[in-house]
Symmetry: C2
Subunit: 397 residues, 2 copies
């Protein structure tokens, strides 16, 4: 019998409790032993709840109980999630987490604490929800040379962009729909401004290159600037607009990291990743292009990814033989200049006369849209000098 | 330092040797120790080859060398690949394999021998080439209830079908192209008759349900019967034709297993898996629909998957804590009746008058094509009774 504690009885934490209960038999068969949730930690009151007898408010009860060997941190936000996690690791307990904010902000500290205490810190559910992506990158691709990662990492923005493209809905109306369906929060900034996607691409870059960069050093453009006209032009170009988190190793050994909307042509598999689904393309020198696709969010799918981490931890518990991941914290000195990266651009300007060498996409409402050759951001500035620019979107590179 | 032997110095074996050499530094960093290929076993002569000093003809040299802890079986075919593998496992050596024929025919025997001898038998490269699919199913999805697996598992047939759909090439011409490009063998039967895809879906079904069924019990239809007219009708229907390996657990607890061409609508992510790429959709109760996409074949991509297995084995070597997989051999008694499975059908008949309730797709050359409601194969027989049928293709269900 393995005993665990769930910290945070919200959406994902509740889903995990439910899943451990409903899959009891499969889990037992898979693990060769039973998995029991001994405590659920939450500061809120759950009087009358059927699991009230398991709910405690004080995390120290978990910390001081030697029977608890696995802690599932499902709180969200940086604090106290980080503090509880590091305390649990130092107490010799394995920690699994769905908290991308904590992994992106403190991943290197938590992994080091895990290694020192001979326990595991796993976070499959922090990126791509139900999609197994962290484990394949950590295990299957660890001896390959990762060339780039490109991901549709945020389901809310992908839903909004899909509505804009398919139904030519405006950003504002699509956002309202997403909020009504529970896909977007009342304050949608973390999603639509790209903050959530940025944390996730930082985690994937750390898995690819061993260095975790602070989110605030990463060029992060959200989707508020994407208009109905951009969407209809994308359809004309046989492309879709996706919010893409991108990382790659540049020729001089630096890491290029950015989050921005991109025109994705139909020949790229990410093109058809629609609605709230996520898709992550990993290009390795040996394996070529891989794509991982699935539900990027949701109570039970995300809880399923957390459960997979718990199962891994339990299977390897007797030997504590989980491959140690070591990250270092990166700074500006090893980050590439995003503006110098080359790609083709879609642009729109006021008036009829487009810059030389560009290919017109459409002319409407006194504005002309066109696509450029493959150029860098400095060359684009020169090209557009003197024009009144209303839109600029990178093509998928 | 970990020492290994590569058995079979052909396409994949040669790729593995190359990859271990070219990724020496990444592997060393990842493993914390060096990986050395001590022997390459092949019965052919390689006089003058730069690696001649490592090449031996007698497998017993490997078997009797206690320094060799990992054996990579890259021979292909059932024998002597199975015999060498079981001997190595019994000698306490880990075995990794890219050989789907051996895994499908003897998987349960090899896994049992591995468990008895406290070593691992891993076979990531046997399905989906470079795509990490075996490991995610074995680890990330092991505590979920797998509802179904649907895969485009053979790159050669997918290339041929893509040519037929996109360029309206005939089957014969597309096959010739595939042979010229090296995608298809001179005798293409294993690919175009669905035998290769059948072995792979049997392996995936075993991972999902713990039972490995003999290939000859599985309904296996290849793509020789798919015509240009079928392909152009698919395009009219907004679908593509794909050779799909399918398995699911039916309501009465049996396993439904089949390989056949299917009309795949654009709303299904497998629709856009083109050319030699593979795509595998796994539906789990908790995780929902996942898709894994990548190169299903090729020297270096496949060798990359083998290398990932070797790395896993080496990382867990000291503890031999690899999760033991246990399969049993299945028989007809637990296999569902494929004909009773319900789906919609695309059909074509001689003449103009289509059965009542069907929807016409097109009328040309004295033949009429149409789609049916969701029915089972027995009801289809009744529906088509008295008509001269020229084509029958299941829709993706």
């Amino acid at each position: 019998m393995v005993k665990m504690a769930v910290i945070g009885f919200g959406n994902i934490g509740g889903g995990l409790v439910e899943l451990v209960e409903s899959n009891r038999e499969i889990i037992k068969k898979d693990l060769g032993t039973e998995l029991e949730i001994k405590y659920i930690v939450d500061i809120r009151d759950f009087t009358g709840h059927p699991l009230e007898h398991k709910i405690v408010k004080d995390f120290n009860i978990v910390l001081n109980d030697p029977e608890v060997s696995v802690v599932a941190e499902m709180i969200g936000g940086s604090h106290p999630a980080f503090d509880f996690s590091i305390a649990a690791l130092k107490a010799g307990k394995h920690v699994v987490s769905s908290n991308k904010e904590v992994v992106a902000n403190f991943g290197e500290v938590l992994l080091a604490a895990a290694a020192e205490n001979n326990v595991a810190y796993l976070f499959e559910a922090s990126v791509g929800g139900a999609i197994p992506i962290i484990r394949p990158m950590r295990e299957s691709l660890s001896s390959d040379n990762i060339l780039s990662v490109n991901g549709i990492l945020n389901g809310t923005t992908n839903y909004i962009l899909t509505q804009m493209l398919v139904n030519n809905t405006s950003f504002e109306d699509a956002l309202k729909q997403a909020q009504q369906l529970g896909y977007a929060e009342a304050n949608p900034s973390a999603d639509v401004d790209g903050i959530d996607a940025c944390r996730k691409i930082c985690i994937l870059a750390a898995l690819a290159y061993g260095t975790v960069y602070p989110s605030d050093l990463v060029l992060t453009e959200g989707i508020r600037g994407v208009s109905k006209r951009d969407a209809s032009d994308a359809a004309r170009l046989g492309a879709s607009i996706k919010l893409i988190g991108h990382c790659e190793k540049t020729e001089d050994g630096k890491v290029l990291l950015c989050v921005c909307p991109r025109m994705v042509p139909a020949s790229v598999p990410l093109y058809s990743v629609s609605d709230v689904f996520n898709g992550i393309m990993v290009s390795g020198e040996a394996v070529g292009d891989l794509m991982f696709y699935g539900r990027g969010a949701g109570r039970i799918p995300t809880a399923g990814a957390v459960l997979a981490d718990i199962v891994e931890v339990v299977k390897h518990m007797s030997s504590a033989q989980l491959p140690p991941a070591k990250w270092v914290r990166g700074d500006e000195s090893t980050l590439a200049d995003v503006k110098a990266a080359k790609c083709a651009y879609y642009c729109r300007i006021e008036g009829e006369k487009i810059p030389d060498g560009c290919v017109m996409v459409s002319y409407e409402d006194g504005q002309t849209s066109f696509s450029t050759d493959v150029i860098d951001g400095y060359a684009l500035d020169t090209l557009l000098d003197g024009y009144a620019v209303t839109s600029k979107i990178r093509f998928f590179a």
